[in-house]
């Protein structure tokens, strides 16, 4: 057993996990670790603010499928990661956060830069651990990686007091850790599969909703095969985008509050609804009374606590989505008789799809049209992330993808400012692919300082800002539901984002036509230059379709306000 300091053990434990990047911001309570990092090949990406570093780790994790690591100091360093942890946790993204802490002897004394980060993050992490002795460090780090990346993935935090970083111990590096209270199961129960298959094969109008779990388990091929076999239309939640190719004839696109017409009209028609890796968020279901009122619901989820949490299911499969879908498909293939399908339902898809595609305003730079221009300019193999707001909904509705790994967004927490740092993390995970952030002026302004890293650390990204000068989604609600009483929505006119980009060493472009947008994106990609493209859009434009809050899926507003 090697005798070494806690900081040495920390570095060795991370190296053993195959960590490539550590995103973070430095500080007093982690200096011993920073010193030790000098000897490591792991790349430290020093950020400008801990929230951004956490989103980078999150972006890296979502794209690579492996835990993203964020390392910060105690006190304000630690509190600044809370938004990032909540974002990752709600979207089941494996993020490992490592926080420095004041020495154990000072814990609890309100020492300089001391906060109770274990208490603060208990509600926004899957698990958190405070190291009490140097010797615990290898086990704590191994545990964090194991727990964050198994079962339903999530954020795990390890808090490391400064004296445990400098104290020496005989360190043991476990290859495996076990917990009496943690047994992530992924193998679905065959009996449950059998029941699901029977229900689906007898259904007249089977419909599928794919959520983030379908994407996370890489179930696209299995899902498409099952949908085709059943002739079942497939809608997706925001996190489920990419579970099925957007242009597949059975694809209904986004479902819910800003769902596409084909999804929101067809989902309530289902007699059997297969929900895969989705937690029935209020944004996906609308009012529960209008959500598939006549459907018998089959729910697949790797997290047992999601079953019957918001919506009761008649059959449930706890386990990995890919294995579950494969099992159902094999079972149906064995059954001879299939129920009579309602073919009229399938025939409506194309017509409703055209209806959604035509929902543009007359303004020359309409939101959906800008999204389509971005799609035209981006090569097929590329990654798009979004910020949060109107632009995000337009992107979710109109940015066509072929499968998982192409579109990432902050779904559950809806964190404005996620996009730019997440794009940098995505680029770190896949330096070979172009990465673009579809942003808004409000979101971009929250974390634009991360552009400095994109430029200086060599992670060229492209940002397109749909700039309407207001907090657009709130403006939309005030327009539609508050009798146009606009309040708190105005944003400062400054800075000029194109000029701002230049001060960061990036390229700044003001684009006022589709052609200019497309040209600027293509140049950013071919020149490998971080580029910010500021696109003025109409502040009065609404995102349609929209289900008013509290209403059912079929209560669709298509425009007019």
């Amino acid at each position: 057993m090697p005798d070494m300091t806690g900081a040495e053990a920390y570095v060795k434990a991370l190296e053993k996990e195959g960590v490539e990047y550590i995103f973070g911001v430095t500080g007093a309570a982690i200096i011993p670790i920073c010193d030790e990092l000098l000897k490591s090949k792991m790349r430290y990406v020093g950020g400008v603010h801990e929230q951004g570093s956490t989103h980078m780790a999150d972006g890296y994790a979502r794209v690579s499928g492996r835990p993203g690591v964020v390392q910060v100091t105690s006190g304000p360093g630690a509190t600044n990661i809370v938004t990032g942890l909540a974002t990752a946790q709600l979207d089941s993204s494996p993020v490992v956060a490592l926080t420095g802490q004041v020495p154990l002897s000072m814990v609890g004394t309100d020492a300089f830069q001391e906060v109770d980060i274990i208490g603060i993050t208990a509600s926004v992490t899957k698990h958190n651990i405070q190291v009490m002795e140097a010797v615990e460090i290898p086990h704590a780090i191994k545990s964090a990686f194991y727990i964050s990346s198994t079962g339903r993935k999530g954020a795990v935090l390890v808090d490391i007091p400064k004296d445990t970083q400098t104290n020496r111990a005989e360190m043991v590096f476990p290859d495996k850790v076990e917990f009496r209270g943690y047994h992530p199961s992924v193998e679905p129960n065959p009996q449950e599969i059998h029941w699901a298959a029977t229900l689906l094969s007898k259904a007249r109008r089977p419909v599928i909703i794919a959520g983030g779990g379908a994407v996370a388990s890489g179930a696209t091929m299995e899902l498409v095969e099952l949908a085709e076999m059943l002739q079942a239309p497939v809608a997706h939640s925001l996190m489920g985008k990419g579970a099925i190719p957007s242009t597949h004839p059975l694809s209904l696109g986004l479902c819910g509050m800003h769902g596409r017409c084909e999804a929101n009209y067809i989902v309530p028609e289902a007699d059997v609804l297969l929900v895969i890796g989705s937690r029935f968020s209020d944004r996906t279901t609308g009012s529960l009374s209008g959500f598939a009122p006549n459907a018998r619901i089959i729910h697949i989820d790797v997290d047992r606590s999601e079953i019957d949490k918001n919506v009761d299911s008649i059959t449930r499969i706890v386990g990995d989505a890919k294995l579950a879908i494969r099992g159902i498909r094999e079972k149906i293939a064995q059954q001879k008789a299939m129920g009579q399908r309602d073919e009229a339902l399938i025939k409506r898809i194309a017509e409703l799809r055209a209806q959604t595609n035509d929902l543009n305003t007359d303004s020359p730079l309409s939101g959906p049209e800008v999204i389509k221009a971005i799609r035209r300019a981006m090569p097929p193999d590329s990654i798009v992330v979004t910020d949060v707001g109107q632009h995000q909904m337009w992107a979710a509705q109109h940015y066509d993808v072929r499968g998982p790994g192409e579109f990432f967004t902050s779904g559950g927490l809806g964190t404005m400012g996620w996009g730019t740092p997440a794009a940098i993390g995505a680029k770190a995970a896949r330096p070979d692919l172009p990465v673009l952030n579809i942003s808004g002026d409000g979101s971009f302004a929250m974390t634009e300082n991360n552009l400095a890293l994109a430029v200086d650390e060599g992670f060229p990204i492209t940002v397109v800002i749909l700039n309407n000068g207001v907090f657009g989604m709130v403006a939309q609600w005030q327009r539609l539901f508050y009798d146009r009483r606009y309040s708190t929505i105005k944003r400062p006119k400054h800075p000029d984002f194109a000029k701002l980009a230049e001060t960061y060493g990036a390229v700044g472009v003001k684009a006022e036509s589709m052609k200019q947008i497309e040209t600027a994106i293509k140049r950013s990609i071919s020149e490998k230059q971080t580029t910010v493209i500021d696109v003025p859009i109409d502040p009065d434009e609404n995102v349609y379709p929209m289900i008013p809050p509290g209403m059912g899926l079929k209560d669709i507003l298509l425009g007019g306000a």
Partner: protein
């Protein structure tokens, strides 16, 4: 709403009680009582909560507890098979001799013990199921309760089933 008893084994580590109570607070579960104690010959502690919940919420309580890494085993106890006891310590004002006699009789009726006697004060211990303790308190109330402390419920199921 109906009361249910949920027992669970947790790792006996610092911070676990916080995480459990934080879960109840954050998800808005209504706790009637919560007791904790170490399990003999084991690194685990047993917690017992009595909750006020409809079946969907009760199911969520069990699942959300089970999801916690520090929670090893959770069980909703079957009300028909469950033996549950609470302990009550109560301080009574008994300056009036008649009141004192009545207090002693009431404590005896509930198989309680008189723990301490001073000129004007009497301290008693009563154990029993929650409803019995409630009933005792209703009877003893008019005499004049100075102070009381209830432990919350310890519970175990009859027969050859165990939480382990």
């Amino acid at each position: 709403m109906p009361l249910h008893t949920v027992s669970f084994l947790v790792e006996n580590r610092p911070g676990v009680l916080f995480k459990v109570s934080n879960l109840f607070r954050r998800r808005g579960y209504n706790i009637q009582s919560l007791t904790v104690g170490p399990v003999e010959g084991s690194p685990l502690s047993r917690m017992t909560v009595v909750v006020d919940a409809e079946s969907r919420v009760l199911n969520q309580i069990v699942e959300q507890l089970d999801k916690m890494v520090d929670v090893v085993k959770v069980k909703r106890l079957d009300p028909i098979r469950t033996l549950s006891r609470e302990l009550l310590l109560i301080k009574l004002k008994t300056s009036d001799p008649m009141a004192r006699i009545e207090a002693v009789n009431t404590v005896n009726t509930y198989h309680g013990l008189i723990l301490d006697v001073e000129p004007d004060i009497l301290i008693a211990e009563v154990t029993g199921p929650t409803d019995e303790i409630d009933e005792f308190l209703k009877k003893i109330g008019p005499i004049g309760i100075e102070e009381m402390s209830r432990t919350g419920v310890a519970a175990i199921e009859r027969g050859n089933i165990k939480l382990a």
